[in-house]
Subunit: 286 residues, 6 copies
């Protein structure tokens, strides 16, 4: 089970967090030394803080603040959430590791922490989701609105998101209220996990562990994208997709056919293989 | 005609606006009491204002201001437009009602007023459109640019938009200069109503009353999407779509076929049924 | 060769720049006179500056600054880059001309300079690309992050972009690290030039001179889109596209068929003809 | 009576205001043309506004706003006060005229409107005083606090100030709750009109028409400074000063002696003669 | 001994703080209800916080932040100082009580907390003094500089200030590095406790418990102002002043004469009697 | 002649500036290492800049900017002035040296550069004075107004100020249009160099080289304070003061008497001896 490796004991979570924070500070220190024009930015966002959760709370508060939602209030909110909830912190750690491991353009942990809008939006979403489950809905929705304005990423506070998730590029991602995303999932930009209309209740997709969803894919309705499945870029999916299969096209079809779809061995959410054997597929021959 | 119910007398418009404003204040008061961390935000945006147009002008001015376009100038511009033009105000009221009625994720009118970027961008667009028709084009375009930067929603000031319109999620919507959108239309995120190239003149789509356009759909050229038609998510449409029919796919085809397309009874722009009988359609079976 | 007309002598570049700056100031002066509410904006962004590179540096610095990356630092960075590198300035001039010539909604050069997020993101990208090639990667990535947040346009600092390029509407554009874009290319919003996964190395598309890529198109992998080719809106392309042909659909097919694709005479990146003979194609008949 | 010339009919007040506004706009236009670096400032503060009260409200709102008291709220407050109360506006006009007439360093009306902190603090005080008399004391005190922070001028909202008053340089002025200042008074910087301790009730000085109070003078207690009297710089005054006499020194003495003090003919608040016949006085001979 | 009543047990300090915080919240709630235009301000500064030290840290951080010293960093600094040091908190409580008791213009505790620049500067000074004693001098001096800019109050981080101190009006107060101020002292605006030149070492005044120093008084050198003494407004003092005596004038003389000065019974720092028996004194008869 | 040592050749000025800049960077680096909470501030204000004039321009621009006078415009103005005028730069260097040498509370050059409001106001004044002499008066006055608001220091752009000048504490200093200040002068806070009324023309004091003016002194009229003279704190001076004499009191008298005043040997503007032999004087014996 892809999510299994994340069930660490509390001790090892704390150790993991400390180790990562040491790497991040070392990276930032190296960058500050080589680039004085960036040193002020690196000190205020990373090097003057005593822990990862303080650095992240500071960075999110400054990015998401507005004239009417001032940064110090948001900082309090984030810091209180991250410092009291180890689950949030271990998800942050897993997301940092996932981004570093899967995206060849990610050159360092600090690069992800500071600059990846998908990573930042996801961490802020986890706080808004926590508020949502505590019935602090107006605050959750105000935070959601700031994330949508600032990052152009629209994740409803009700949506549940696992650990080790990579939102790559992330602009334009829309995820509905009753969507669920498992562990080790990778989702590209412009992906929609949408509802089917104005019916209330459970109406959004369930994305299982290890799934990869390509850029611009639209997945609609309370359907299940099975463990380790892959959705090709630009696909429109309105039906369940079985585990370890690949759906492509608009309307989406299973590679290999509905009855005996091809099955892959790897976990696409981790291997990030967007195109192999999709592009081999006859339909993709120009 | 779906737009018919909007032809209210001036009196009833004013009453409608007052009623709605009372609801919004009551919602905001309730939220401020239950969530002190949000009370400052709710007082500054809603509770300290004497009318809906003042609250909306304040909120838009703060969101759209920049270092070089200061908030007080924008506030003057918005307040002057909304307070002197009842048509703008009744469109605001109709949009608020439409959002509340059609989007199950919209929990209150104040939620829409404060947090829906599609709603806010549309109200700001109406002011830029008014400036456009008054030949104040540089100002209209500067406002348009701020809306595009802040909300990632790009509606040309020349575009005409009816009442009771819902832009759901709204990130990435692009609407061209000569596009026309009727009443009671619902448009999801990443929808493009684009031109056909560098020809001048009337070159963008005409969307009739009651149409629903799914996420990521691209509609290009001076074509007509008939009353109550439905465009599936991710579709690419370059031809007219008859009233009450459904077009899906890339390239788009009519559900039921070109010669005898299936016709639906409901008004998709209001019923918001994105998938029924599209997903039944054979092409959508994975 | 479409790019040929850009190989101007240094002298003529300077003359071209001066001529354009005079036009821009004249436009801004005219607009300031007709619209006092905009005069402050026009003076601070254009009329108080002595050259195009100062105006552009000022405008970008104010748009891209944040709480932790202050505007004066960014201004220094931009001004130093533009004032010392005539290549950057001639690319700016070519982009302004391209936008004015190809987009019928572009009413003036100053309109493009001030309000086109695609234009502004592209100029800022060129500075981040220059930093990237100078091995100042942390600064390049911080700048990239600001562009992605503010404009919702995500161009990796490593990507190479030619001159005379139009990013129309531009929201949601994603361009990967090893992508190359030639001269006189036009790219619409939501276009992805993406990689194929987590493999390192040269993994993104090469877009030749004069190409037009329609809204929402997704081009993945180290493939070549030949000179003067056209990619239809919403297409998903994973294979090379020959010069002067048109690829449409998801998955994309060549208009006219794989073996004897239709060839067009014009340069779509300049003519901006999005739909002709695509919409004539049988598949596009609804 | 010095204040007499201010009892104009409503008509002439409006005419006076219009005339002055025309001068101010002409001055600002001339300055904007000669100094492009200042044009943006002049357009946003003066030239884009349709009336003096709008310009003043805009300028005060921007100067006095803070993170927690946003500019648009203050703008509403100032504009509402000035536009509905002709008394406030005629006092503004009288103060502008007084400054221009009495201070040789004041080169234009627009110079005073934009740059004189004493003038600006006084206009903002008049609004806080109006709120005070309307029993809106918390708001009056919040405004008072902003004036004290921004201008280092501390005028209690309860203090009554006449028309045609010049606060020259003005930094450090402190005026207590029950102080009263007549018409055509001139007060230099660091002047204190203070109380006598913690007794409540009427406890601050009463300054009659035409008085001149020199820099750093301290006037304490419920005492009366008679019409046309003059208080020398640095004096400490704890007793009534008769009309048209001059008090100087610490402790203050009447020039000419207590029994037969010298009387001057001119109105010092208007003539601004700080030193003549003080410096002739034997005590001032070094 | 005036300071005696402050030697409370830790328990009673905590109780005192809680009691005061309850009063402050009640006052703020009452004001927010009666004045919606101020409610946003009151919620963000007081009502959304869970304790007095959080409210004060928030307020100081927002007031003292600048482009290069961002508010969230200052908030961390203040909150960390106040929350870990009960001495700082009990001094804050004593100052709030002193202001409310001694200044008839202080209408409520919340008025003092929000609006008294002397109170706010003093609380911020205590944090900078703490940093100074911890040898974190550059940070202490940066904070000192912000206090001097924002409030026009210049208290060197090295200066020691007791509890129950009132800085009334406070603009222009200057206090040097080796000055010491006892408990229950009241100091008016423009008061200088200065050094004697460029000699290093202990060179500033020592102000004993219960002293009152009037507006604009200048006290220079390492001299002692005895317990319960009173310095008249505008006095210049370069010699010790015995306990319970009154010094007035420039140069200062003791009321009653050097040899047998008049002695008062009350504690002027608490009674705030600025003028009685000074103004009776023959020299003050105009 | 005290100013003599400043007549350095251009070469040595440049060397002097370089040497000082190296010290300042070393100090800032040491402080950044010992205090991470301040490192961001030190990098953005000092360590990321390549020269003293860039650092100073950056710091002044950020301090003096406002909503309507944006920081990048001010930065351009300052940088252009300092980088093209070596006289301005050598005055900056001399002022930094003077502050460090004369004020025992000044712990480093960087401390003065960053935190001394008197130093910063003086450097900004020199730029506004330069504009004044270039007949760019509206800009000079707008800058003057910002200095007066931000630092509570009011120096008219017309005033001429020499080199090696120390404004200690500086809050409340007011200097009129036709005042002239020589080299190596030291001026404390609340000092007024004022005019005599509304007469135009040359009407303000002339302060010769090496003068020391104590806190709160008021000097009025076109009088001459002779070389090396000393004005006691709180004095009010309306007559010429001979060289190397001391004037004290309100009204001011010469120490030693009018006819044979005591003469001192040292240069008080450099020795900063505020009180010796003033406090010995009989009048100062309490």
């Amino acid at each position: 089970m892809p999510g299994g490796q994340l069930s660490l004991s509390t001790n090892s979570v704390v150790e993991d967090e400390s180790w990562l924070w040491i790497q991040i500070k070392a990276e930032a220190r190296r960058d500050a030394e080589s680039e004085p024009a960036l040193a002020s930015y690196l000190y205020s966002t990373i090097l003057c803080h005593s822990s990862l959760d303080r650095s992240l709370s500071f960075h999110l508060a400054n990015k998401l603040s507005s004239t009417t939602l001032v940064s110090t209030l948001l900082y309090d909110l984030f810091l209180n959430s991250f410092s009291t909830d180890p689950t949030l912190r271990s998800a942050t750690v897993a997301d940092l590791r996932a981004t570093r491991a899967r995206d060849p353009a990610c050159v360092s942990y600090s690069h992800c922490l500071l600059n990846y809008k998908g990573f930042l939006a996801c961490q802020a979403h986890r706080v808004s989701h926590k508020l949502w489950t505590q019935s602090r809905r107006p605050l959750a929705l105000a935070l959601h609105s700031r994330i949508a304005d600032v990052f152009a990423i629209d994740i409803h506070p009700g949506a549940k998101i696992g650990k080790g998730v990579l939102f790559d590029h992330a602009t334009g991602v829309v995820i509905g209220e009753t969507a669920v995303i498992g562990n080790n999932v990778s989702i590209l930009h412009h992906v929609t996990l949408g509802g089917t209309g104005k019916a209330c209740g459970d109406r959004h997709p369930k994305i299982c562990d290890g799934v990869l969803i390509g850029a611009g894919a639209t997945v609609l309705g309370n359907i299940k994208i099975g463990e380790g499945a892959k959705i090709g870029a630009g696909s429109v999916v309105l039906k369940d997709v079985p585990p370890r299969t690949t759906a492509v096209g608009n309307p989406a079809r299973l590679v290999g056919g509905r009855d005996q779809p091809s099955k892959h061995e790897d976990v696409p959410g981790e291997s990030m293989d967007h195109t192999s054997f999709i592009s081999e597929w006859s339909d993709y021959i120009i």
